[in-house]
């Protein structure tokens, strides 16, 4: 390319070294572009990062890699591995044991074979099984990866097919928890994408967690000559006549590029282009859903305590409420994850038991506490969150968990905002997505969460699709 002189000139600058940024960087470097990935933090991975504490390895975000298929072609996982030219076993994925959607007095089990969920629906909701099959057909025929499609309400479409509101809620619960930036509803594209990712395909995890995936991406990117800078925040995107020509770093240094792919988020990228946080469109398109999580390390395996399932999505109310929390933590519903309960086979086993409980948390509350009361509130909420969750784990009680816990940690919306820079600690970003990746600047494109593909596989596909469409295909 014509900017091979070295110095601070690049073909493409990618903002953010998460899954989407790395995947976009790999695609561009593969075809000879000079690419620079800029990451504000010291660890790569973005929303799916990791940290060490108390001699232990923690995953952030990742409960499960969705979209898992074993060697299946024509699937999102197959497509992304081929596009990145990575071998099938690059991510060392091991399948889940089995999961459950738990509502009052009612369970739907599912695993990586859709037949399990279908037979569970037939058992629990015999009158609705035909409607379930019809919905499934509609989803399978829907092209959810079309970058040009319009937003449609999933609640409306699903409601027209499945009349039973309880079954609707039970199906929405895991899909919303694993990706909806919208309160109470989802865009149908996202609903269909997550349905396929979770129910048709399934859950898997590398034994050593998300770092295995990040390491594979980093190595691929490096081998192609891609460069990156960590702890390197971008202060603003420099533009003239609606065209960007580079970025100014927080240090004041300027890097020039022919185009910018930003994975920072829709509003976050607008702020880099000069918008103010109080601008109406920024306020209106900042996500209001944030989460908190407790992580307990146990001196025994969950299976020994009678907990052999991988993930349990629970809700204790007549209706499932997925919306902004009014209290620091919304205890009515949540997600339990036992990372031990994957079929690791010969890969080995995790050294300790791990119990993670995730739920909707209030950004406003957790950011308002001062340093002392923040720690006190964490101590106060920790047992309440676990007690709420174990209502859906028969045979286990709080005293046992307390006695067997050897280490614990907790994150809140405040932690999420600090490490992901997502406004409002909104894990799934803005409620309104920019599917085609375009922004007001002709050569600045969005990839990642706010482009709208979901999950780890979705994030990587987002980076790939945006790099393909706006840079490689247009011959930039």
């Amino acid at each position: 390319m014509d900017v091979s002189e070295g110095g601070n000139l690049y073909d493409t600058i990618v903002i953010g070294c998460g899954m989407a940024g790395l995947a976009a960087g790999i695609r561009l470097a593969m075809f000879g572009q000079r690419v620079m990935i800029l990451e504000k933090h010291n660890a790569p991975g973005g929303l799916n990062s990791f940290y060490f504490q108390g001699g232990r390895k923690f995953d952030v975000g990742l409960h499960a890699v969705t979209n898992f298929v074993e060697g299946g072609r024509g699937t999102p996982l197959g497509t992304l591995l081929r596009q990145l030219r990575l071998p099938w076993d690059a991510f060392k994925l091991c399948p889940q044991i089995g999961s459950r959607i738990a509502f009052p007095g009612m369970d739907l089990r599912f695993n990586n074979s859709i037949e399990t969920l279908e037979s569970e629906v037939a058992r629990v909701f015999p009158k609705d099984i035909d409607a379930f099959r019809k919905l499934r057909k509609v989803i399978l025929e829907h092209d959810a990866l079309n970058l040009e499609s319009k937003v449609q309400s999933a609640r409306e479409i699903v409601g027209r097919i499945i009349q039973n509101p309880l079954l609707q809620d039970m199906l929405f619960c895991p899909l919303m928890y694993y990706g909806s930036a919208r309160e109470r509803d989802m865009d149908f594209d996202q609903f269909a994408t997550l349905w396929k990712a979770i129910f048709e395909e399934g859950f898997a995890r590398p034994l050593e967690g998300v770092r295995v995936i990040i390491r594979a991406l980093l190595e691929r990117y490096r081998s192609l000559g891609g460069t990156r800078r960590m702890k390197c925040g971008v202060k603003r995107i420099l533009a003239k006549n609606e065209t960007a020509h580079g970025v100014e770093l927080e240090t004041g240094e300027v890097l020039e590029a022919k185009q910018v792919i930003s994975t920072a988020g829709w509003a976050e990228t607008k702020l880099l282009c000069g918008s103010q946080r109080t601008d109406p469109d920024i306020l209106e398109n900042t996500g209001s859903l944030s989460f908190g999580e407790t992580i307990s390390f146990l001196d025994t395996k969950p299976a020994e305590l009678g907990c052999g399932e991988t993930i349990i999505f629970f809700n204790d109310s007549d209706q499932f409420h997925y919306g902004k929390a009014e209290n620091p933590f919304d205890l009515r519903s949540g997600v339990i994850c036992f990372p031990n309960n994957y079929d690791y086979g010969r890969s080995g086993d995790l050294p300790e038991g791990i119990l993670r409980v995730t739920g909707i948390a209030s950004y406003d509350h957790w950011t308002r506490f001062n340093a002392d009361s923040y720690e006190a509130q964490k101590r106060n909420w920790f047992p309440r969150i676990i007690k709420s969750a174990i209502r859906f784990l028969p045979g286990i009680d709080w005293e046992t968990i307390e006695k067997r816990t050897v280490y614990q940690d907790m994150f809140t919306p405040r932690t999420i905002e600090k490490f992901t820079s997502h406004l409002g600690g909104a894990v799934y970003g803005a409620p309104r997505k920019a599917k085609d990746g375009r922004t007001e600047l002709s050569n600045v494109f969005l990839a990642g969460t706010d482009q709208g593909f979901l999950g780890i596989v979705g994030a990587m596909l987002s980076g790939i699709s945006i790099a393909n469409k706006h840079v490689l295909m247009s011959g930039r």
């Binding site: 593969m30 075809f31 072609r73 024509g74 497509t79 030219r85 071998p87 393909n468 490689l472």
Partner: protein, 85 residues
Amino acid sequence: MTKEDIKKVVLDIISEIAPDEDLSNVQPGVRLREQLDLDSMDFLDIVMELRKKHGIEVPEEDYQQLASLDSCADYLTPKFTGVGA
């Protein structure tokens, strides 16, 4: 470069893009998508590799010319000749 050489170039590119596909019995007159598991993203990669390895540009409106090995050879021959390969 002969048409046979060009078919070999395209097959080599496909083997790099899709190492899990069996290319031992590809029929030159039949559409590649009917014989192999290739999607539009894979065709983009064929185009990108032609540019990277051989300096050949295939505009988006001509992607359909790459449907089969025979059509690849017909379409690409003048381009290969043009770059003096």
